[in-house]
């Protein structure tokens, strides 16, 4: 199955393009800080709000800081937040989904009613309030997004577990007395990994956008951290005078999200051969 998935992915040029974009961003996050032309935190009062030029390819901001260097540095924060938040979502959501789906009964009811209750509140709204409660800062944004994004995972994994539970090999394992925890971890969990992989790939861009949104609103990274959402907030204030300050960080977010979306979409169709239409 793995070779079929890989072959299907390799044949999908759009998905491969998306994957290449993601890899470029990862490489930029790793080596970018060592190759940027300027210190992203260094202020230069003789070069305030300089338009894009040969010396500053993306111009400078209100404090004379090089926008290109800050955008490159911001790649690290974006990827860090995306991966960390999704990790929390996955751990919480998968655990609750496995428990709800396998145990059933009152346990399932309690978990799913709580999940449904949480789902009645829009994600960004709940993340906004939790981030506000915890206080501004990138760490709290990661926690806030992690604490709200698990709901969909729980529903997804619970659904998978409910159908897997009916499989004969699961019944056989139960019949010979295999403990429930072992059945869940060794027999059920490996069979939901492919569904999970696709969902995680598609959730990372959402987490990146939410984190940037919270930073834009003032709850995420604090000055002078070169985080894209915070940079956009600065750019909004001086749109008339300096269009570049808000434009390039947004382009950075857009391209990263586009890469993840393309790759995630390709992965969806590679893992689900019945969905023969890629949409692109």
């Amino acid at each position: 199955m793995r070779s079929r998935v890989v072959r299907s992915l390799l044949k999908n040029r759009i998905a491969m393009g998306g994957g290449a974009i993601v890899i470029c961003y990862v490489m930029l996050a790793i080596i970018g800080p060592y190759i940027v032309p300027y210190d992203p935190l260094q202020q230069n009062y003789s070069e305030l709000l300089v338009a894009p030029s040969r010396a500053h390819w993306m111009g400078t901001d209100t404090y004379g800081r090089d926008v290109l260097s800050r955008v490159v540095y911001g790649t690290r924060y974006a990827l860090l937040v995306g991966v960390a938040a999704v990790t929390i979502q996955t751990l919480v959501g998968v655990t609750l989904g496995l428990i709800a789906g396998y145990c059933g009964g009152i346990v399932d009811t309690i978990i799913m009613r709580f999940t449904d209750m949480m789902l009645a509140i829009p994600t960004l709204v709940l993340a906004l309030v939790i981030a506000g409660l915890l206080g501004a800062g990138l760490r709290n944004v990661i926690i806030a997004i992690g604490m709200v994004g698990w709901r969909e995972y729980t529903r997804l994994i619970r659904g998978e577990v409910l159908s897997l539970k009916q499989e004969s090999y699961i019944e056989a394992a139960r019949a010979i007395g295999v403990p429930g925890v072992r059945i869940v971890l060794h027999h059920i969990l490996p069979n939901v990994i492919s569904t999970l992989a696709v969902y995680v790939t598609l959730c990372i861009p959402s987490a990146i956008i939410w984190a940037a949104a919270l930073s834009y609103l003032g709850l995420g990274a604090q000055p002078p951290t070169p985080e894209w959402g915070a940079m956009l907030a600065d750019g909004r204030q001086i749109l008339r005078q300096a269009w570049w300050v808000g434009t390039f960080p947004g382009l950075g977010i857009m391209l990263m999200v586009l890469g993840f979306n393309f790759f995630g979409d390709g992965l969806t169709y590679a893992l689900n051969p019945k969905l023969t239409d890629s949409g692109l």
Partner: protein, 313 residues
């Protein structure tokens, strides 16, 4: 149908109870002293203690929540910590602006995505289909707030076609619609892009059904096959997808209201969170939860209207 609707409304009550309890608990367990945060770090301890007593922060959780709940049952959602105004009144003053923006975006988004999805599905895998889907992907990948900023830059700053921010009055007033155009454009186009991708897939599934093949073989025109037979059967999943997007639309409205300084409850929520005015934030969250549940209910009612086979007991 009526008894079904009544049952769904009754389900709303424990849901709101649970949400309010959760939010109150979150506010209770947060680290830090809200009274100290409101008055500032240099405030005298006596002033901080007086404010704690006024805001009932010195009472245990069950007592605070109980008092709030009794008030909520009478329509009193408490008072804003920052402005000392009734939360319910503050929300009531601002909610028309949010409803106007969200309603326009939702209606236009749903209406416009249908023809786009139909064209993409009918011309599946053609240049037109690929262009539409690529465009949808591209549009979805843009953060709402950045798209709003770019629209402001291009349309309001450079071309000076519409105002940059604010709201002058309701939609039907002379200037009201001009202020609505840009924020509604951002929300609508995002919704169209999201819905188009999903409805297109559903439409393709319907077009591959046997009865559609029969309709083609009977010699029916393309318009009749697609619009009369296929589209009708795509409406149920389209409505489902639309219902699932409502929470996202609400979240996007919060951001867009902030970008465009639109005076709705979304902006009010952001202001409340930033000033740690949590009774106000709690009240607004409850309103959002009610909206989501009511919209889900309307979606269920719409099913019955679109598909006459559906009966709710």
């Amino acid at each position: 149908m009526v008894s079904y609707l009544m049952r769904r409304v009754l389900v709303l009550l424990p849901l709101l109870l649970g949400i309010s309890l959760l939010l109150s608990a979150l506010i209770y367990i947060i680290p830090g002293d809200p009274a100290r945060v409101i008055l500032g770090p240099d405030a005298r301890e006596e002033a901080v203690q007086r404010l704690r007593e006024r805001l009932d922060l010195d009472k245990p959780f069950y007592e605070r929540y109980g008092m709030w709940l009794l008030g909520a049952l009478r329509g009193d959602l408490g008072r804003s910590w920052k402005r000392n105004e009734p939360v319910a009144k503050m929300i009531a003053d601002r909610i028309p602006a949010s409803l106007e923006l969200a309603f326009v975006a939702a209606i236009l988004g749903f209406a416009l995505h249908i023809p786009i999805s139909v064209i993409a599905a009918v011309k599946r895998n053609s240049i037109v289909d690929n262009a539409i889907m690529f465009g949808a992907f591209f549009w979805i990948s843009m953060p709402d707030f950045w798209l709003g900023i770019m629209i402001i830059l291009l349309v309001a700053v450079k071309l000076r076609l519409f105002p940059i921010s604010g709201r002058s009055g309701p939609l039907w007033t002379a200037d009201g619609w001009r202020y609505l155009v840009l924020p509604a454009f951002v929300l609508t186009t995002r919704l169209v892009a999201t819905l188009s991708r999903l409805t297109r897939i559903k439409m393709i599934e319907v077009l591959e059904q046997d009865y559609i093949r029969t309709a083609w073989s009977k010699g029916l025109s393309g318009r009749k096959v697609v619009l009369k037979h296929a589209l009708r059967n795509t409406m149920i999943p389209a409505i489902t997808v639309f219902g699932l997007q409502i929470p996202r639309l609400i979240g996007a409205t919060v951001i867009i209201e902030t970008v465009f300084a639109w005076p709705g409850i979304g902006k009010l929520l952001v202001d409340a969170v930033l000033s740690r005015d949590f009774p106000l934030a709690q009240g607004i969250m409850l309103v959002f939860a009610v909206v989501v549940v009511v919209v889900n209910l309307l979606v269920d009612v719409a099913y019955a209207y679109v598909d006459p086979r559906i009966h709710y007991e």
